[in-house]
């Protein structure tokens, strides 16, 4: 790797890491003021525990050439054999993806999941669900040929495409979010009572950080600072813009007003949908993909009311649905020919074309098949992990914790303590709801297994 490519990859890894506090603000702002810290902690915890799991075993399972289609081996345990070198940049880059994927799930379990259960769920899910799916889509054998279940072709000899993790990350996390939402059940009062975002400026800030970081996510997935990365960058940019505008128009027509939450949701929907396609489409395709995702996701976030699952912060509606939209549209818009210029990306020529660019329906079917496989696998294994945890320690907090708020009851903290009426003494904790209650229900007992 030359220094220029290395510079871009170092930067991309940092950018994706920065997405995690961005996501914490995006979700935290969208949720309740009395459980924002719980949401924040669920997110940043992922970037604590997952990197440790990743360097020990996750990376090896996901990326080592094991000779089979399903899973890597443990040859790279504790990064065995990877000394100080630029190779580490790619390990670190992928580590940020591993960390953000379970964090995405957290939005669906807002306000009601035991923190202890989450703390155990995350590393297990990372090893049992994330690493295998990544292997299927991105594994290469020792000669550098595609080796995974899904990149070698399920239905024929062409493999499905997923540039930066539409299927591996967004659909995968979205399905897991659905499973946990089903297992946890609805929040008290939902859907009759409004639970509006407690801080939309934080949501906007989180969205801004996500967009900024997503350039690292997508253009960094080119693994260098070349024309390939440039196109991925441009597609990411246009899809987010188009997603925002499309969502704004849809909500203006249906609901009568333009909202900040709508603009932010549209941006994220566009970003999710372009993720699998960023390095495989050219020209104005990014606009189409973003705009279509913006409209479809706008409608998808209302599904939960019809179907009755409490996907609190719309992980399913935006990440799962947006990921599916992007993955399927890639079957239409994939245009490797545009990249064929050897200065851009030599190997592009070997990728399949989409329906609109002369490739027929083969890629489209591969895309759909891959998506279905990942959805089924993620659903089943996440369900198994969830049921096991439920049986072992329970997934859901007490009703009183939910009413009083998770921040106070689980974490002994309150997010905001702006008011200090009593100048000298202890009303500082005054922002909290029923702090004193803990005298009735000692923390030491209640905190167990949270």
């Amino acid at each position: 790797m030359d220094s220029g490519n290395a510079a871009w990859m170092l930067m991309s890894a940092a950018l994706v890491l920065f997405m995690i506090p961005g996501l914490a603000l995006f979700y935290g702002g969208m949720g309740r003021g009395k459980s924002v810290l719980n949401m924040v902690l669920m997110n940043i915890y992922c970037v604590g525990i997952v990197p440790l799991v990743w360097v020990l075993g996750g990376y090896s399972l996901a990326q080592s050439p094991s000779g089979n289609k399903f899973l890597g081996n443990l040859d790279l345990f504790a990064l065995d054999g990877i000394g100080p070198s630029q190779d580490l940049i790619v390990v670190a880059f992928l580590m940020t993806f591993a960390a953000i994927t379970p964090a995405l799930i957290s939005g669906a379990v807002a306000d009601r999941m035991k923190f202890g259960a989450w703390a155990i769920f995350v590393p297990i899910w990372s090893l049992l669900v994330y690493s295998p799916v990544v292997y299927w889509i991105y594994a290469f054998d020792a000669e550098g040929n595609a080796a995974g279940l899904l990149n070698t072709g399920l239905l024929g000899d062409i493999g499905s495409l997923d540039f930066a993790g539409g299927t591996a990350i967004h659909i995968n996390a979205g399905v897991a979010a659905l499973v946990l939402a089903l297992l946890l059940g609805k929040r008290r009062g939902w859907p009759n009572n409004a639970i509006p975002p407690h801080s939309l400026p934080l949501v906007m800030l989180g969205t801004g950080i996500l967009w900024f970081g997503w350039f690292g996510f997508n253009a960094g997935s080119a693994l260098g600072a070349d024309g390939f990365a440039a196109q991925a960058f441009m597609n990411t940019f246009l899809a987010a813009s188009a997603g925002m505008v499309a969502w704004l128009i849809a909500e203006r027509i249906k609901d009568g007003h333009f909202t900040v939450l709508g603009a932010c949701s549209g941006i994220v929907a566009g970003l999710v949908a372009i993720t699998p396609a960023a390095g495989f489409v050219a020209g104005m395709s990014g606009i189409w993909i973003g705009a279509i995702a913006g409209v479809i996701c706008y409608f998808a976030v209302s599904l939960k009311y019809k179907l009755g699952y409490d996907d609190s912060l719309d992980v399913v509606g935006v990440h799962m649905v947006g990921g599916i939209v992007g993955g399927v549209l890639l079957g239409l818009f994939a245009d490797p020919g545009a990249f064929a210029d050897p200065e851009v990306f030599e190997e592009a020529a070997s990728f399949p074309e989409g329906l609109f660019y002369g490739g027929g329906t083969e890629l489209l079917f591969e895309q759909i098949a891959s998506i279905v496989v990942v959805m089924v696998y993620s659903f089943i294994v996440t369900m198994a992990i969830g049921l096991a945890l439920k049986a072992a320690i329970g997934l859901r907090v007490d009703e009183e914790d939910e009413i009083v708020g998770l921040d106070n009851r689980l974490h002994a903290e309150t997010a905001y303590n702006h008011v200090e009426l009593a100048g000298k003494s202890g009303s500082g904790f005054g922002g909290s709801v029923d702090v004193r209650e803990r005298s009735d229900s000692p923390t030491s007992t209640k905190a167990d297994a949270r």
């Binding site: 409004a194 609901d255 209302s302």
Partner: protein, 112 residues
Amino acid sequence: MKLVTAIIKPFKVDDVKEALKSIGVQGMTLSEVQGFGRQGGHVEVYRGAEYNVDFVPKARLEVVVDDGQLDRVLDVMTVAARTDKIGDGKIWVTEVDRLIRIRTGEMGADAV
């Protein structure tokens, strides 16, 4: 002396304050409250879902006045706070037994 408590629309605070000042009221105390009333039962649409909204933001003004001033104060407040739309609010009056100005220790009418 009487304590006049008025629950009014937040954006009317300034009109009421100016009206009271104009008739010589020299002090009042304001707080943020949430009101539930006939206005209640409204339905909001947000992000594709419908919600009932029960409590709406209101402002609460407290003014201690001399018995003699009471009627003028009530008249002026009622007029200044009115928008003729539902949710304009209430005013209630209670009897004040004693009043003290902390700085000077003055009591009763002198302390207003």
